[in-house]
């Protein structure tokens, strides 16, 4: 029983404080929007020019002029603003967003990460990932702990083409929460029923274990969605 993609998203959402300005990447990160605490006001940013992305509209209520960077239809939240690409990337690269949540192919012990090009990929595309990586204070990675072939994704050095160096702050996986600190990787949380050794076995890089390292607090289900599976 590992966390599902929704389970990882749920856990990420717990670390976004009121008043944060957050960019959610494609994949697991966009799911974070479904698990935000409705009592906290959090602004979601979309690189194509939205601050204050709201819920997905009901089928039939889509507006063709309102889409997110993932090309899905969206609504706007209270207090939203719309702007052009120059302003959007000023927010992203200029240290204005508080958090960016991104997927990754690999994360290295020094905070390097790779998320834009699978080695050997025939047609590359980078989008705004590099700008977020260099410009946002809190880079959160949300990903499976190992590849679908069981290979560790948290490594000593990335082999895939880098997105940026030394910028990851926290890694959320289906089994653990790990911080990137000055001296390396610090295990903060592991899945109930597992232990730090289990996490280390699935991690190429050496993990330090935080003094207050603890079991992750994620419910089995949330509004009918399975967070474990």
């Amino acid at each position: 029983m590992l966390l599902t993609r929704d389970g990882i998203a749920y856990r990420v959402a717990r670390d976004l404080p009121e008043g944060s300005y957050v960019n959610l990447g494609v994949g697991i990160p966009v799911l974070v929007a479904n698990y935000l605490d409705p009592d906290k006001e959090i602004f979601l940013h979309s690189e194509n020019g939205i601050l204050g992305v709201g819920p997905t509209p009901a089928r039939g209520a889509e507006d063709l002029d309102f889409i997110t960077a993932g090309k899905g239809f969206c609504t706007l939240a209270l207090g939203a603003s719309l702007f052009d690409q120059t302003v959007s990337f000023t927010m992203m690269r200029g240290d204005h967003l508080s958090h960016a949540v991104m997927g990754a192919i690999e994360v290295a012990a020094n905070g390097d990460f790779a998320n834009w090009r699978v080695p050997g990929q025939s047609v590359p595309g980078v989008g705004g990932a590099m700008d977020l990586a260099v410009g946002v204070r809190n880079i959160f990675i949300a990903m499976s702990h190992v590849t679908n072939k069981g290979k560790p994704k948290i490594v000593n050095a990335c082999s895939a083409p880098l997105t940026a160096r030394r910028c990851v702050k926290r890694i959320f996986t289906d089994i653990a929460v790990i911080d990137v600190v000055e001296k390396g990787l610090l295990l903060r949380e592991f899945l109930p029923g597992l232990d730090p050794a289990y996490v280390q076995e699935r991690t190429e890089a050496v993990l330090m274990v935080a003094a207050d390292c603890r079991e992750m607090d994620v419910p089995k289900n949330f509004k009918g969605v399975a967070l474990f599976g």
């Binding site: 507006d63 889409i67 047609v123 595309g125 083409p161 940026a164 160096r165």
Partner: protein, 233 residues
């Protein structure tokens, strides 16, 4: 009397010549100048260098332009996996791709439009997209030198325009359209509606008319008006 309106999209694309550099606005389908791009396809000039965030999808407008074999180079940040016609041309060696981080693409266009000579950005430093580029350490941090982009022809999409070329946008239509409008000598905007001079509040103009040389009012391309279906989520 100033009147920048043209009757048809064909008229708007008619000066485009073989070998031209062309910027195309839009991000996904929002703010894509679909009818102007269809006219550009019909115009049929070749060896174009296209500057655009992505490479479109499907069988019309930006996506189809690459299937026509009219472009020899694309400068972009994200040719998506769904950009099938571009991918086929690229894998066949029929088109060159200059891939840049999206913020760098935006800033290079702005740099061209604002009369600057180049800038240093931290985006891409230490990655393969910085290969061959000048690197400079500024205040202990690594930056990549990037150069301005301009175009012979810029085609953009807006909601409304007036005869002076003033434009406004709705929702997420602004994206690349506003900055691209500054980076060419020939800038044609496709609008849903041309409104009488004086309709815009001066505070509500998004693109001042000085940046726009031509505009044409036309219904949006039918494919851009399609809501998602089961086949097209």
């Amino acid at each position: 009397m100033i009147d920048k309106t043209l009757a048809t999209c064909m008229e708007a694309v008619s000066p485009v010549h073989d070998g031209a550099t062309v910027m195309l606005g839009g991000f996904g389908n929002a703010g894509m100048p679909g009818q102007l791009i269809e006219a550009l396809r019909a115009h049929g000039k070749r060896d174009l260098t296209i500057i655009s965030n992505g490479a479109g999808t499907g069988e019309f407008a930006l996506g189809a332009l690459f299937g026509d074999g009219l472009a020899r180079k694309l400068i972009a940040s994200f040719p998506a996996p769904s950009a099938k016609q571009f991918r086929a041309a690229y894998l066949a060696g029929a088109i060159e791709l200059e891939l840049v981080p999206q913020g760098t693409l935006v800033e290079r266009i702005r740099c061209g439009g604002a009369g600057l000579g180049g800038f240093f950005t931290p985006a891409g430093a230490g990655t393969e997209l910085a290969a061959g580029k000048e690197i400079r350490i500024i205040d202990g941090r690594e930056y990549v030198f990037e150069t301005p982009l301009k175009a012979d022809f810029v085609f953009i999409k807006a909601l409304q325009g007036d005869r002076f070329g003033n434009l406004n946008y709705r929702g997420t239509m602004r994206n690349f359209n506003m900055v691209m409008a500054t980076a060419g000598k020939y800038v044609a905007a496709e609008v849903d509606e041309i409104v009488p001079a004086g309709s815009f509040s001066p505070e509500a103009v998004h693109t001042p008319g000085i940046f726009v040389t031509h505009l044409v009012s036309v219904s949006r391309h039918p494919k851009l008006l399609e809501l998602p279906s089961e086949e097209n989520p």
